[in-house]
C-alpha cells in the first residue's frame, strides 16, 4: 500500500480524499493556489505546497508544477479528485513516466473514454443504444448548418473533453448556431484546454441516469447500481438520488448490465460512471463514461456501504476487488443536494461574499461534504459548489423528510445561495412523485419567487431594527485578510 499521496485538487473533494487516506494510514500532501492558501484542505493535509497563482491554468491544471511538488515530497501516488486533471490522459502519462501512480484508470482508457466521439463508437460496439448525433470534429460555416439540419433541432453542443455542463449549449434555431458554437469553444478551451466540440440531438424532458462501476487491474468488474441526477439547471446537477424512482427492477437490471458491457469493452479499471439518458417512453441511450470519481459518489456509498475513494486507492495499489457482484445490494434511499454560491433570484448567477455565519447540522443519517469555514471569504475563482448535503433514509419518503429538515436547519449567512430553492424543489409534487426531469427547474422559478413574497413582505418592516454596520463588507474583510492581496488586485471596488 502507498505511504504518501498527493491530492491534485481543492475544496470539499480534497478534504474527502485526505480523510480517506488518513483512515488508511496514508500520509497526505495538499497543493494550493493563492486564494486557497488558508483553506481547510491545506490545514488538514500532513504537508501542503503552494502552486503560486490564481487561475486554474497556472495552478490546479499545471501538470509540471504539480509533478515537481509530488517528486520533491516523495509521494507514491496522486489522487486527482474530480474536474481539473482527473480525466487528463497527458497527466496520467506524465505520472507514469515519473514513476508515480495515478489513482484512476490507465491513460489509454482516459484517452478512449475522454473523447466523447470515441466512446460513442465504443457504445455502438458494445451494442448499447447511443444518442443520435455527429461523431467527429465539427465543421464550420455552411457544412455546420447542414449537419445541424440533418440531426434536427433542438441540438446540444458539448465539449468533447467536457463534463459538468462546461462548454455546453442548447441550440433551438439555425440563427443561434454559429454564436453558440463560438461560446462553447471558448468555454471548452478555458476549462479543458481543448476546444473540440460535438453535437447531438437534444431531448426536451429527459431523465439522467448513471451507473457507478468499479474494476480492478485483474479485470474484475462490478456495478454499484444507478444514480438519478435529473434535477439540473444549466446542465449542472443540483439534486441526485439513489435508487432512481424512474426505473422498474427490470429496467434497472438492463441499464446496469449495459453499463458493465461498455466498461468491459474498454477493459476499464478504477471507479467510473456510465451515463445514460432515459426518455419518457423508457428508452435509454448511452451518453458517456466519466473516468473519475463523481461529485455525487456519496449517495452510492450511503446505500451500498462501499467507500469509493478507498476502493480507488486500493485498486491503484494493485489490490483485487474485495467483493463480487452478488455481494452488493442497495439498502434504503439516499439523496444529495448541492449547495451552490448562486442566487436563484438573480437567474442562478454566481455570488460572492463570505461564510459569515455557518451551522452544518450533525445528526443520524446526515453527511455533509463541505469546504466551508465560518468567517472565511467565498470568491468566484473556481467552482460555485460550496458543499454537498447528503442524507440516508429507510425509504425515499424518509430520505426526503430528512433532507427537508436538514435544509431547514443548515445555516449559511453572508452569501447568496440556492438552499431555499433546493428545499422548495424537494417539496414539489413533481419531486415527490419522481416525475421531475432535467428541465423542471426553470419551469418552477416563478412559483418559487411568488412563494417567498409573503414572508419577505412581513420581514421588510423589521429590517431597520437590525444593526447594519457591525461588520465590514466581505471584500473589505478580505483586504485585511492574510495572503489574499494578490487575488484582489484586479477588483475595482469603487
Amino acid at each position: 500500500m502507498f505511504k504518501k499521496i498527493l491530492i491534485a485538487n481543492r475544496g470539499e473533494i480534497a478534504r474527502r480524499v485526505i480523510h480517506a487516506a488518513r483512515e488508511m494510514g496514508i500520509a497526505t500532501v495538499a497543493v494550493y493556489s493563492d486564494p486557497d492558501a488558508d483553506s481547510l484542505a491545506v490545514k488538514e493535509a500532513d504537508e501542503a505546497y503552494p502552486l503560486n497563482g490564481i487561475e486554474s491554468a497556472e495552478t490546479y491544471l499545471d501538470i509540471s508544477k504539480i509533478l515537481k511538488i509530488a517528486q520533491d515530497a516523495k509521494v507514491d501516488a496522486i489522487h486527482p479528485g474530480y474536474g481539473f486533471l482527473s480525466e487528463n490522459a497527458s497527466f496520467a502519462e506524465a505520472c507514469q513516466k515519473a514513476k508515480i501512480k495515478f489513482i484512476g484508470p490507465e491513460p489509454k482508457a482516459l484517452k478512449l473514454l475522454g473523447s466523447k466521439v470515441a466512446s460513442k463508437k465504443l457504445g455502438q460496439k458494445a451494442k448499447v443504444p447511443v444518442v443520435p448525433g455527429f461523431e467527429g470534429e465539427l465543421p464550420h460555416g455552411k457544412a455546420l448548418q447542414k449537419l445541424a439540419e440533418e440531426i434536427g433541432y433542438p441540438l446540444l453542443i458539448k465539449a468533447a473533453a467536457g463534463g459538468g455542463g462546461k462548454g455546453m449549449r442548447v441550440v433551438h434555431k439555425a440563427e443561434e448556431l454559429e454564436e453558440m458554437v463560438a461560446g462553447a469553444e471558448r468555454e471548452a478551451l478555458a476549462f479543458f484546454k481543448d476546444k473540440t466540440l460535438f453535437i447531438e440531438k437534444y431531448f426536451e424532458n429527459p431523465k439522467h441516469i448513471e451507473v457507478q462501476v468499479l474494476g480492478d487491474e485483474k479485470g474484475n468488474l462490478v456495478h454499484l447500481f444507478e444514480r438519478e441526477c435529473s434535477v439540473q439547471r444549466r446542465h449542472q446537477k443540483m439534486i441526485e438520488e439513489t435508487p432512481s424512482p424512474s426505473l422498474t427492477p427490470a429496467l434497472q437490471k438492463e441499464i446496469c448490465g449495459a453499463a458493465l458491457k461498455i466498461v468491459k469493452e474498454a477493459h476499464y479499471f478504477s471507479a467510473g460512471t456510465v451515463e445514460f439518458l432515459l426518455d419518457s417512453k423508457g428508452n435509454f441511450y448511452f451518453l458517456e463514461v466519466n473516468t473519475r470519481l463523481q461529485v455525487e459518489h456519496p449517495i452510492t456509498e450511503m446505500v451500498t456501504g462501499v467507500d469509493l475513494v478507498k476502493a480507488q486507492i486500493r485498486i491503484a495499489a494493485g489490490e483485487t476487488l474485495p467483493f463480487r457482484q452478488e455481494d452488493l445490494s442497495q439498502r434504503g434511499h439516499s439523496i444529495e443536494c448541492r449547495l451552490y454560491a448562486e442566487d436563484p433570484e438573480n437567474n442562478f448567477l454566481p455570488a460572492e461574499g463570505s461564510a459569515a455565519v455557518l451551522v452544518e447540522p450533525v445528526r443520524p443519517g446526515v453527511r455533509i461534504d463541505s469546504a466551508l469555514e465560518e468567517g472565511k471569504p467565498i470568491l468566484p475563482f473556481y467552482d460555485p459548489m460550496l458543499a454537498k448535503l447528503i442524507v440516508w433514509g429507510e425509504n425515499r419518503e424518509d430520505a426526503i423528510r430528512k433532507m427537508d429538515a436538514l435544509l431547514r436547519d443548515f445555516v449559511l449567512l453572508g452569501i447568496r445561495h440556492n438552499l431555499d430553492f433546493l428545499r422548495f424543489f424537494l417539496e414539489t409534487k413533481d419531486f415527490a412523485s419522481g416525475k421531475y426531469h432535467t428541465h423542471s427547474v426553470s419551469a418552477l422559478m416563478e412559483k418559487y419567487q411568488k412563494g417567498r413574497e409573503t414572508m419577505r413582505q412581513a420581514l421588510v418592516s423589521l429590517v431597520p431594527q437590525f444593526p447594519m454596520r457591525a461588520a465590514a463588507s466581505p471584500i473589505q474583510t478580505l483586504k485585511s485578510g492574510s495572503g489574499f492581496s494578490p487575488a484582489l488586485e484586479g477588483f475595482r471596488n469603487a
Binding site: 486554474s56 462546461k166 461560446g183 471558448r186 468555454e187 478555458a190 476549462f191 444549466r234 454560491a341 438573480n346 437567474n347 448567477l349 454566481p350 455570488a351 460572492e352 459569515a356 455565519v357 451551522v359 468566484p380 475563482f381 473556481y382 467552482d383 460555485p384 431547514r408 445555516v411 449559511l412 449567512l413 453572508g414 447568496r416 445561495h417 438552499l419 431555499d420 428545499r423 417567498r452 414572508m455 419577505r456 412581513a458 420581514l459 421588510v460 418592516s461 423589521l462 429590517v463 431597520p464 431594527q465 437590525f466 444593526p467 447594519m468 454596520r469 457591525a470 461588520a471 465590514a472 463588507s473 466581505p474 471584500i475 484586479g490 477588483f491 475595482r492 471596488n493 469603487a494
Partner: protein, 128 residues
C-alpha cells in the same frame, strides 16, 4: 403587524400573525441576512453607499449582474449599437454571461478592459 421581540446576535425572535419564530442573522454595512424556519432572506441596507455613484453618468449604464472577470469586450467607445447586441462577456466560476444592450444607442464609455475583475453591481458600459 410583525414584531421584533428580541435581538441578541446572532439570534433574534420575531412574531408574525401571533406566532413566534426564532432566527439567526448576519448584518454587514451593506445588507442583513436572515435565517428563519421559512427560509433565508437578504435585505440590502437602504442607506448603503452606491457603487460608483456618479449621478448622471449612471444614467443609461449597464452594471455587472454577477462578480467575475471581463473575458471579452466586443465594442469600443463611439460605436453605434442596437438593442440586443452583445457588448461584453463576463466569466465567473467558468461560466460565461453575455452583457447585451437594452436599447439602440452609442457607446459613451467602457469602464473596464479585458482580463479585469468586476464586482457585482459595478458599471460596465455607458450607453448614450
Amino acid at each position: 403587524m410583525p414584531k421584533l421581540l428580541s435581538i441578541t446576535p446572532p439570534r433574534f425572535t420575531i412574531e408574525i400573525d401571533g406566532k413566534t419564530y426564532s432566527g439567526i442573522f448576519y448584518a454587514s454595512a451593506d445588507f442583513v441576512d436572515l435565517h428563519l424556519p421559512q427560509g433565508n432572506f437578504r435585505f440590502e441596507n437602504p442607506n448603503k453607499k452606491k457603487k460608483r455613484s456618479t449621478s448622471s453618468s449612471h444614467e443609461g449604464g449597464l452594471t455587472a449582474p454577477m462578480p467575475g472577470k471581463v473575458v471579452k469586450i466586443l465594442i469600443k467607445e463611439g460605436d453605434g449599437i442596437k438593442k440586443g447586441d452583445v457588448l461584453m462577456i463576463l466569466e465567473a466560476m467558468k461560466m460565461e454571461h453575455k452583457i447585451t444592450s437594452p436599447r439602440d444607442g452609442v457607446v459613451k464609455k467602457v469602464f473596464f478592459q479585458e482580463g479585469e475583475r468586476v464586482s457585482q453591481g459595478a458599471d460596465l458600459v455607458e450607453v448614450a
